[in-house]
């Protein structure tokens, strides 16, 4: 194989021009998909974290079981189970619905763990001070505890969000036309790897700034934690 063959296989301008509209549509779908599943998972996480503040053991143990269950199942397994399994139970689900359910369960569990750790990192005195001035339990949580909790675990929240956006690529397995799926389509038509390469470059350009930011935050965090 000559170098020209390699360039032709992975970096063909001609192929890229042909595939661009398809890739662009996929890119937009990836953005839309992220805009759906990130808030969905976050809301799931907030619900789990709020439940974890109830100290009753009737809430606590089922909650831990729930979180660990969905952290143990690989997200793709969950997605395939929902998408390919539910029709057998008489529930036809669209790819988007399947992805939404799967991400709500999986991502929610991760956000939930992060937020719970955040809430636990806020000293109890904060709640007491807030309650002593007459704030209700919910007001104390909303105005005093949660803002600090989110700030304390911000790097973890950003990191998880990055993982969620990357994870949207598994939606290609259930034929949701996001970026990777579109790239695979273009590749199988053209017998050329350029579309997949282009998809990789798009992901990288989109997410590199986030990775840089995280790298800074994490270094600072580790230094502060010694």
């Amino acid at each position: 194989m000559t170098f020209d063959d390699f360039l032709q296989a992975f970096f063909s301008w001609e192929i890229l021009e042909q595939a661009w509209p398809i890739l662009w549509a996929g890119f937009l779908n990836t953005l839309v998909l992220s805009a759906v599943v990130v808030p969905l998972g976050f809301i799931g996480g907030v619900i789990l974290a709020l439940l974890s503040t109830l100290r009753s053991r009737w809430v606590r143990w089922p909650l831990i079981a729930w979180v660990d269950l969905f952290r143990s199942l690989p997200p793709l397994v969950l997605l395939v189970f929902v998408y390919a399994g539910l029709p057998f139970a008489g529930l036809e689900v669209s790819p988007l619905t399947a992805v939404a359910i799967g991400f709500f369960l999986n991502t929610g569990a991760y956000y939930g763990e992060i937020l719970r750790a955040g809430i636990e990192s806020v000293p109890h005195g904060q709640t007491e001070a807030a309650r002593s001035t007459g704030l209700t339990a919910l007001q104390a949580l909303g105005h005093v505890v949660l803002p600090q909790a989110v700030r304390n675990v911000l790097p973890d929240l950003i990191s998880n969000t990055l993982e969620v956006v990357k994870l949207t690529s598994i939606a290609s397995v259930v034929a949701l036309p996001e970026l990777l799926f579109q790239a695979r389509q273009a590749q199988s038509v053209t017998y050329n790897a350029t579309p997949i390469m282009a998809a990789a470059v798009i992901y990288f350009v989109l997410l590199w700034p986030v990775v840089r930011l995280l790298s800074r935050l994490e270094n600072r965090q580790m230094a502060g934690r010694r």
Binding site: A130, R131, S132, T133, V144, Q148, R151
Partner: protein, 248 residues
């Protein structure tokens, strides 16, 4: 003489098997400054925390400004407006400025508009001589300044009674003076105060009455001169002797 502004009767508190308060009666008159001393584990902090129901008493009754605190129908959050509390570890909200700390309950509990809440908050900060620090975050203030902001946070709600839970114990010695000065000014303005603290000098100078607690009970009480000068009970004598040796 009007009736007491704070009246606690027969207070008991259990933590599991631990019987921390064993029937405490406490009456505080308006404008009175009551000082509570005692060894650690004597139940003095628990007593204080029961008085605004941060701890739920196991038995007994508490009335503040005519309101039955333990009545199910009492809106405890409304009642807590009348009972200010200052904590040993300040417990300022680190994500809000000094002004934000003071204004939060004014807005969320009293439902005041932002402008009015902030004006009142500024006034409260001015009373502890920190008006110029309104925009600072707790992390940018010294421990003494943080505690004064915490005092402002409580007095901004115009409480009828103030509870102080070892307000100077977490401070470096050189920062204690500012907090005590703020407390003295508060006293001179006529505030009713219940103070748990080891600042004996302040107790001698400012308290109307000193209560010595041990083992979950009030052992002895009286004017500071009597308690410090001529304690009747052996345990009181021993405790005061020890404190004075430590501070000599």
């Amino acid at each position: 003489m009007p009736g007491p502004i704070l009246e606690a009767r027969g207070l008991h508190k259990h933590f599991g098997h631990l019987h921390v308060l064993k029937g405490v009666d406490l009456l505080v008159q308006e404008r009175e400054l009551v000082f509570v001393i005692g060894p650690s584990g004597s139940g003095k902090s628990t007593l204080l925390r029961c008085l605004n129901r941060l701890e739920e008493p196991s038995a007994g009754s508490i009335t503040v400004d005519g309101i039955d605190l333990l009545d199910r129908r009492t809106d405890i959050n409304k009642a807590r407006q009348r009972i200010g509390m200052v904590f040993q570890s300040f417990n300022l909200y680190p994500h809000m400025t000094a002004l934000g700390n003071v204004a939060l309950a004014l807005r969320k509990v009293q439902g005041r508009g932002r402008a009015e809440a902030e004006a009142r908050a500024r006034e409260a900060l001015d009373r502890v001589h920190l008006a110029d620090r309104a925009g600072h975050y707790p992390g940018q203030l010294s421990g003494g300044q943080q505690q004064r902001v915490a005092i402002a946070r409580a007095i901004a709600l115009e409480p009828r009674v103030m509870l102080f839970d070892e307000p100077t114990s977490a401070l470096d010695p050189e920062l204690v003076g500012g907090v005590l000065a703020a407390m003295r000014e508060l006293r001179e303005s006529g505030m009713t105060m219940v103070v748990v603290s080891h600042e004996m000098g302040f107790a001698r100078a400012a308290a109307d009455r000193v209560i010595f607690m041990d083992g979950g009970r009030i052992v002895e009480q009286g004017p500071p001169a009597a308690i410090f000068g001529a304690p009747q009970e052996e345990r009181t004598r021993a405790f005061i002797g020890q404190i004075e040796r430590n501070h000599a």
